[in-house]
């Protein structure tokens, strides 16, 4: 009821004004002070003007919304990315060709969950051209390591170096250009197969290059069998392809960049066994000529890694080759048993 009073009053405002004008105006007219012209001009100017002004309010959209929106844009300008290209790092990229990675006492917590330390001091060295793998239960922080290596985040403390250069001092664009990431479910975008493969490149590649990348990704056969070959549209989210086919296009996209560091984050775990085999073969082939870091929970995919790090509670619990870790009869051994991998040694 509190709002009803003003509302009703607002509806009758015009007539109140009219009543006032006629009452006072007619008195002035009768007294001979005003001519009828004067009276009409004043009355009509005020009433018409007022009506016009009042009606215009109905076209104005909510000003509070506009205020918030304008503030939001101005606020966005104040948000500064910490991982971005700056004057100092513009030309600083990774040096030499073979990539070695080392982590020195890296700790990390997500800003959204300050309370949990996801990584609690990880130190390791990955030599050039080797295949390193991270395994562990879900939530142990192995995917976080990949995010840090991609520089999606910077470590809370400690540092990551590439060929002994701190990666946090490099231009993110130049740094990322030397690596490719293959995720569990890589997104395909609207556009042709060729466009999807060439996405990460700064130039547009020749047909040979695209075919070569497809070949390396074991995708050549299926891409050639498509009705329009490389020009076949992927459609929304690439849903017209099977998971394995999508993954192979993604692998081709990763390889055409000729990365010196290949990051595989559960690259095959969303696939069925047949597709997994094909994609895994392509990845193994690709890994043989470059430094590769893989995260997996299916141990069969990383059995041949040069070094396997078992992560537990944000720390390195065990490390070594498959055979060494088997002999250790620790966590890795238990995980192998659980996955029925014990026969293959």
């Amino acid at each position: 009821m509190l709002t009803l009073g003003p509302y009703a009053l607002s509806q009758s405002a015009e007539f109140l004004a009219n009543a006032l004008g006629f009452w006072y105006g007619s008195r002035l007219l009768v007294q001979g002070e005003y001519t009828s012209t004067q009276f009409f001009v004043i009355l009509i100017a005020v009433i018409f003007g007022g009506q016009g002004a009042a009606q215009f309010f109905s076209y104005t959209t909510s000003l509070s919304k506009a205020k918030w929106s304008a503030n939001y844009i101005l606020w966005l300008r104040t948000v500064k990315a910490t991982i971005c290209e700056t004057e100092e790092n513009r030309d600083r990229g990774p040096s030499r060709d073979d990539v070695s990675i080392s982590l020195e006492n890296v700790e990390f917590r997500y800003k959204q969950r300050e309370a949990t330390r996801v990584l609690r001091g990880i130190s390791l060295d990955i030599k050039p051209g080797t295949y390193a793998a991270f395994v562990g239960p879900s939530g142990c922080g192995k995917s976080t390591i990949v995010s840090l290596l991609e520089r999606f985040y910077d470590p809370t403390s400690g540092c990551i170096t590439l060929n002994e250069d701190d990666i946090s001092l490099m231009s993110p664009a130049l740094y990322r250009r030397c690596m490719s990431l293959v995720q569990q479910t890589p997104p395909l975008y609207l556009g042709s197969v060729r466009e999807n493969i060439a996405l990460g490149l700064v130039y547009s590649p020749s047909d040979e290059e695209v075919y070569e990348a497809c070949h390396q990704a074991n995708a050549l056969e299926f891409v050639s069998s498509l009705p329009e070959g490389l020009n076949t549209p992927c459609g929304s989210k690439g849903l017209q392809f099977s998971g394995g086919q999508r993954q192979r296009i993604a692998v081709a996209r990763a390889l055409i960049r000729k990365p010196r560091l290949l990051l595989l984050d559960e690259a095959t775990s969303a696939l069925d066994t047949q597709s997994e085999r094909i994609v895994q073969r392509a990845l193994d082939e690709a890994a043989s000529s470059r430094t590769t870091i893989a995260v997996a929970h299916r141990l069969s995919t990383i059995r041949h890694a040069h070094v396997i790090y078992v992560i537990g509670d944000g720390r390195i619990a065990e490390m070594g080759t498959h055979e060494e870790l088997q002999r250790l009869k620790g966590r890795y051994y238990a995980m192998c048993l659980a996955q029925s991998l014990d026969q293959i040694q």
Binding site: S10, Q11, A66, W68
Partner: protein, 655 residues
């Protein structure tokens, strides 16, 4: 306005010729025509709403009229009291209605005997999951038949059928509500009416069978813990075990497991697999899997390829045959026996999974959807957000933004000019009007001349107004387009370069950002173009009208400006504000019903396999009823107000 001009011109001629006797008649005619025309003009603004509504109505009716081929709510069909659970599939053929040229099943024959576990394996895309859709009667087979206890499943009541064939899917959907409510969604028939104590007992039993009781007890509120609200409170394995409990609570005869464990990591997979093995004992079970380790123990394994069964038998029979299955086994590195199996059945592991996996797989709940889809809600909360606003006043924002676009000043100049014309036309109109009335008091040719002259001026004023509004339209549109373009670009440019942290914040989900990307620039654009124009217009109009009134006679002028004009303007402003408020509150109330509908539609397969259609409709109706009651209450008081207004209007006219 040109109409007024014409009316006065013709009016004076008729008055002169004696056709019309009194001046009053002319003025009445002129005023009623002008006011009438204005009201007609105002209906034009509602035209867009009417067109939108009519096209929406067309769509609505076409949905309402569309017959459902497989109506889950129909009462037709057999509902036998007992069900043995023998399924036989004969020569089944099927192609999805959306892709009729690609047959998925091409003459499938399979017997799923009662009380046994049958497994279906094969490469992805071979039609395994399609069979589930046909068994659940989401689709009709093109030809062939599926027999349950010797009768075609089409003869059974759909609801009854789905209550007896329970499905556990790859990614279980849980609904907003407590753990108890979620499991209780699986109740059928009489169970729904049991007293709560017995229901809780049943729910607990089902959860124990599904290995879920232990972790539920550890949740903050046990069975009364709210799910969905605190997104991500359960791990994938825990959610899957809850959905298993939900599926078995009605003690169905037949269970379908469609890749029930394949989205889980190995640890969770083991626990869930144990739960599945336990609940499927002495029930007809169909297991679909691509991980062969999960189906090895099945009584019969059918290998599918190209839409039909290629081979079948037990694990060892198929290995001996050395066909497709044996090849698949080799591909998956499984030996003749898996010694590690014993390791799986370790209750320690159950606890382990619960401890480690908590907090990692976020439940897609409606709350997150809501925040993504409804930017309005976030607008309202904007004041409390730690980030997202600088707290600048509106004028400061306008000033900052005006400074940014010097190239648009030409257009702003046009707007200013147009405002002068449009705002100034009000007092000009008043002067002309009174002169015209005056002309009627004059006699002979002098009066005729004056009337003609002022009518002509009226016409000129109309043209000036036309030009003014044309300029405003052109300028505001140009400014609007340019600004939308610039600010959208700026926003996306900034956003893509932000740190990952920015995207981790709950208020920056992709849905929320997209909504903001379209809403924010358009709100700013409206502010900087149309709204600035309107404010200018109103300001010029008020100043010009006031000045004219006071100049023509300060006594009446001042009285009218301060006592009259101010209340008219304030009244108009109030009216609009209150209208908007009412609209916003109605919208807010409808949001709750919308979220219920979204939840149901987003997980339609779960809803339909649990035969929840009726209960969801009932709940939806209930929410709508509550909203209707509220809205009607508002409207009633609204009507009362309108009556009161009409009353005051009459009173004013009498005066």
């Amino acid at each position: 306005m040109s109409g007024t001009a014409l009316a006065f011109w013709q009016g004076y001629r008729m008055f002169q010729s004696g056709e019309v006797e009194a001046i009053g008649t002319v003025i009445t005619v002129v005023l009623s025509v002008t006011l009438g025309a204005t009201s007609v003009m105002f209906t034009m603004f509602s035209m867009t709403a009417i067109t939108n509504a009519s096209s929406a109505a067309a769509e609505l009716f076409s949905i309402i009229d569309k017959p459902s081929l497989l109506d889950p709510l129909s009462f037709e069909g057999k509902r036998p009291t007992a069900c043995a659970g023998d399924i036989e599939i004969r020569n089944l053929r099927f192609a999805y209605p959306s892709r009729p040229t690609a047959p998925v099943l091409q003459g499938l024959n399979l017997a799923i005997p009662s009380g046994k576990t049958t497994a279906l394996v094969g490469p992805s895309g071979c039609g395994k999951s399609t069979l589930v859709g046909l068994l659940e009667r989401w689709y009709q087979p093109t030809s062939g038949e599926i027999l349950l206890d010797g009768y075609d499943i089409a003869d059974f009541n759909t609801n009854w059928l789905r209550s007896n064939i329970r499905l556990v899917q790859q990614e279980p959907t849980l609904f907003t509500g407590t753990v108890f409510q979620n499991v209780a969604k699986g109740f059928i028939g009489e169970q729904v009416n049991l007293p709560e104590k017995e229901q809780l007992q049943l729910v607990k039993e089902a959860c124990m069978a599904a290995y879920a009781h232990e972790f539920i007890e550890k949740l903050p509120d046990g069975y009364d813990t709210q799910l969905g609200e605190s997104a991500g409170s359960l791990s994938g394995g825990q959610r899957q075990r809850l959905s298993i409990a939900r599926s078995i609570i009605s003690d169905p005869k037949i269970l379908l497991f469609d890749e029930a464990t394949s989205a889980l990591d190995p640890r969770a997979e083991r626990v869930v697999q144990d739960a599945l093995d336990r609940v499927s004992a002495d029930k007809t079970t169909l297991v679909i899997a691509h991980k062969l380790a999960t189906v090895m123990a099945a009584d019969n394994i059918a290998v599918m390829g190209n839409g039909r069964v290629v081979e079948q038998g037990t694990h060892s029979e198929l290995l001996e045959r050395d066909g497709l299955y044996a090849a698949m086994v080799r591909a998956q590195d499984l030996g003749a026996d898996a010694r590690g199996q014993d390791f799986h059945r370790d209750s320690d592991e159950v606890v382990h999974e619960d401890n480690l996996d908590a907090n990692f797989e976020p439940t897609v709940s409606l709350r997150t959807l809501e925040s993504g889809l409804m930017p309005k809600a976030s607008d309202r909360k904007a004041g409390q957000l730690p980030a997202g606003t600088l707290g600048y006043s509106l004028t400061k924002c306008i000033a900052i933004m005006l400074k940014e676009h010097p190239d648009l000043y030409v257009w702003y100049f046009f707007i200013a000019l147009a405002c002068l014309i449009a705002g100034g036309s009000y007092p000009a109109q008043a002067i002309l009007f009174s002169r015209l009335i005056n002309a009627f008091t004059l006699q002979g040719s002098e009066g005729q001349e004056q009337a003609n002259f002022y009518a002509l001026l009226f016409f000129v004023l109309a043209l000036a107004n036309l030009l003014g509004f044309f300029c405003t339209g052109l300028a505001t549109n140009t400014i609007g387009q340019t600004l939308t373009h610039r600010y959208r670009r700026e926003m996306i440019e900034r956003i893509v370069y932000f740190d990952q942290d920015f995207f981790d914040r709950p208020e920056n989900s992709s849905g929320a950002l997209t909504a903001r990307l379209s809403a924010v620039p358009s709100a700013v654009q409206e502010l900087m173009s149309a709204n600035l124009g309107l404010v200018g217009n109103v300001t010029v109009n008020i100043i010009a009208s006031s000045v004219t009134a006071i100049a023509f006679g300060w006594k009446l002028g001042l009285t009218m400006v301060f006592a009259g004009l101010s209340i008219i303007v304030a009244g108009g402003y109030f009216r609009i504000r209150l209208d908007q408020k009412l609209e916003a509150s109605i919208e807010e109330q409808f949001a709750s019903s919308a979220s219920l509908a979204t939840e149901a539609v987003a997980s339609i397969r779960t809803v339909s396999s649990l035969t929840l259609e009726t209960s969801i409709l009932r709940e939806y109706n209930k929410t709508l009823d509550v909203i209707m009651a509220k809205v009607i209450r508002n409207l009633v008081s609204d009507e009362a107000m309108k009556l009161y207004c009409a009353h005051t209007r009459m009173m004013a006219n009498v005066q």
